[in-house]
Structure formats: C-alpha cells, structure tokens
C-alpha cells in the first residue's frame, strides 16, 4: 500500500513533469493563458496518460521489443483521437480555445516517456497510479502557471476578479509572458527544493 502511494506521489512532487523533468513544454506554454484552460488541458492530457499507461502495461508482454515505440505511439494516438472526438462533440468552446494542442497531445513527451520508462515494465495497477500521479502533477503545474498568468495579466483567477483589469499587465496573457512566468516559477521551485 505504501509502495503504491509512493508511485502516485512521485509524479506530483519529486518527478513533476513540468517543473522538475521539463517535459511537455509546448502545451504548457500554449494553453495556459487562463487557469481554466490550463486545468482542462491538464485533465485532457492526464486522462489520455492514464488510459495509455494501462493499455501499454496490459500489452507489455505481447509487444515485440523491436517495434515497441511505434506500438506505443499508435496506442497513444488512438486515445488522443477518442479525446478529440469527445471534446469536439461535447465541449466545442474548449475545442476552440485549446485548438491544435489537443491533437498535439500525441507528441507530448510525457506520454511516450511514461510508457517507455514505467508502463512497459510494471503491472497494470502500478501503471494506473503512475499515470494518475503524473496527470495530477501536470494539471497542478498548468493550473499554477495559468493562474499566475491570468492574475498578473487580467487581475482574475478562474474568472473571479481579484483586482481591476486596468491594472493588469497584458504581457502575461500574450506569448512572451508565458516564457517569463514559467521561467520564474521554475526558479522559485528550484529554490524551495534546494532549501528543503
């Protein structure tokens, strides 16, 4: 039981995909113009990650070693296509705001990385928890970055007004602000990790 908790927790803090491993940067920067968008992108990526981890670990003894990477890519692409159709049908507004980053979940290094490093070598339950942990860690990072940018840029968090929009720095909602905010967040987290 303690072991399972460790697997789950590893994805959230010690091996956080964004702040520690620096994976999946494109989607991290591209979809965090607001906390809500960041959260939805995190949930979308996390759900694909859980599904692909489970299927990869189920099939790990059947997939020949030589073709394991293409096989993983097909598994991931299948779940991304399913997600794409579901979002298109039920949440057209979200589809418009995340745009091209939904199909691009396929090339998010976190998915292939976890399949290769964890799910291809471990059992179904452990892989499920690993996927869940990484998904939660990724969502946490995206929400943190999205909330920072939304607060500094428009004075809101999740659409709730904190201070008047006129005092916001529009830069943080635009492209350069994404790089700058993420740079400072990683630096702050580095500092906290070093002092602990």
């Amino acid at each position: 039981m303690k072991n399972y908790w460790k697997i789950f927790y590893n994805g959230i803090v010690p091996g956080n995909p964004v702040f520690v491993l620096l994976l999946g940067m494109c989607a991290t920067l591209g979809t965090t113009s607001s906390a809500y968008n960041g959260m939805m992108m995190g949930v979308a990526t996390g759900s694909v990650l859980v599904c692909s981890n489970v299927v990869v670990s189920m099939l790990r003894k059947l997939i020949p070693d030589k073709v394991h990477i293409p096989a993983y890519i097909v598994i991931i692409a299948t779940f991304v296509t399913m997600l794409q159709l579901a979002v298109n049908a039920w949440m057209p507004a979200l589809n418009a705001s995340l745009g091209i980053f939904i199909p691009l979940i396929v090339v998010n290094c976190i998915l292939l990385g976890r399949a290769e490093a964890f799910a291809g070598r471990n059992g179904v339950v452990a892989s499920l928890l690993d996927g869940l942990g990484c998904g939660v860690g990724y969502t946490f990072a995206l929400v943190l970055l999205g909330a920072t940018r939304e607060l500094l840029g428009t004075g809101k968090i999740f659409g709730a007004i904190v201070y008047p929009e006129d005092y916001g720095m529009l830069l943080f909602v635009l492209a350069p602000g994404a790089f700058i905010a993420l740079g400072y967040l990683i630096a702050i987290i580095n500092k906290i990790r070093k002092t602990n």
Binding site: G30, L104, V107, G177, G183, K194
Partner: protein
C-alpha cells in the same frame, strides 16, 4: 504572388512558430546550447517539416477525404512522420554520408518535435493548396531555424554571465526566450 509573400513573412516573423505559437519548444531548449548544432537541427527540421507536410497533404486529400476517414488524421500523420524520419535516416546513411554525419544525431529527435505534426495539421486546417502548403511549411521551418539560431547565440553569451543559483539553466533561458518573443511581437503590426 502577394499571397505567397504574405505567407512567407507571416510564417517567419509575425507568427513565428516558437515565439508566437509555442510549437517545437522542447528541441528549442534542448539543442540551443551552441550555434553550430542549432543550425544543424534547423536544417534537419526544415527538411523533415517540408517533406512531411507534402506527404501529409497528399494523404489527406487523396486518401482520407475520399474515404471519409478524417478522424484518423492524427494517427495517420504521426505514423507518416515517424516512418519518414526512419526512411530518411536510412537513405541518407547510404547516399549522403557527409550530410548524415552532420545531421545524423538530430534526426531521431524530430519525430517527437511537435512542430512537424503541428504544421501538417495547421496546413489542413487553413485549407491551403499544395503549393501554399509547401511555402508555408518551408518558411515556418525557416522561422524555427532563425529562432533557434538567435537563441543559441544568446545562450552562448549567457554561459559567461553570473546568474543567481536558482535561476541557472532553464529558468534564465526561459526568461531570455520571453524577451526575444517580445522583440518578435514588434512584427505583429505588419499587415498585408
């Protein structure tokens, strides 16, 4: 003619793939430590993006659309890219060993470069014809190379700077990229 010029200028400067669209950010931070490897990566990416876009365009309009299989787009495109990169590696090893020596290490990395899949999908979404697609993909890749090369120059200088401990490495690189992106925002006033 003006459409092509506008596609080229937009793709390289105004809507730069790294600074405005956030595609290809992973290799952007990974391979920008020195200018020569940045140019090598840029050349390899330019080659693959252009080739992959042409193949993806042909597949979309001659296979997926007539058969009504548009929903398979993501799976087909990613497999095409992975296949192309592999093929390119094998062909280049046999026929152009000198070029392979210089680009070789970067080739396998390109499959997971989201710029390649991103451009292939964007071209279909924008409804470009084949010639426009080639122009768009080639100039987007040039924009990527330009960004990578500029940024590698900055990072070479950064090695010599006294940066606070917690900011060393990726954080300071991110902030520099942000400042560079701000400079590129200056182009957004250009209209055709």
């Amino acid at each position: 003619m003006l459409t092509y010029l506008s596609i080229i200028i937009t793709a390289i400067f105004i809507n730069n793939i790294v600074f405005a669209q956030f595609l290809g950010v992973c290799p952007f931070f990974g391979v920008s430590k020195n200018t020569s490897s940045a140019l090598g990566m840029g050349a390899a990416v330019t080659f693959v993006i252009t080739l992959a876009t042409v193949v993806a365009w042909l597949l979309q309009y001659f296979v997926l659309n007539p058969l009504g299989l548009q929903f398979l787009q993501t799976i087909v495109f990613i497999l095409v890219i992975a296949f192309l990169v592999q093929l390119l590696e094998i062909v280049m090893k046999k026929t152009l060993p000198a070029l392979y020596q210089s680009l070789g290490v970067f080739l396998p990395l390109i499959t997971t470069n989201c710029a390649v899949l991103g451009v292939a999908i964007l071209v279909i979404q924008k409804g470009f014809n084949l010639m426009e697609s080639v122009t768009y993909s080639f100039s987007t890749a040039l924009g990527f190379t330009l960004a990578l090369w500029l940024f590698a120059g900055i990072r070479e200088q950064l090695e010599l700077a006294a940066v606070p401990k917690a900011m060393r490495g990726v954080p300071i690189a991110m902030i520099c990229a942000g400042l560079l992106a701000m400079a590129f925002m200056g182009f957004s006033g250009i209209k055709f």
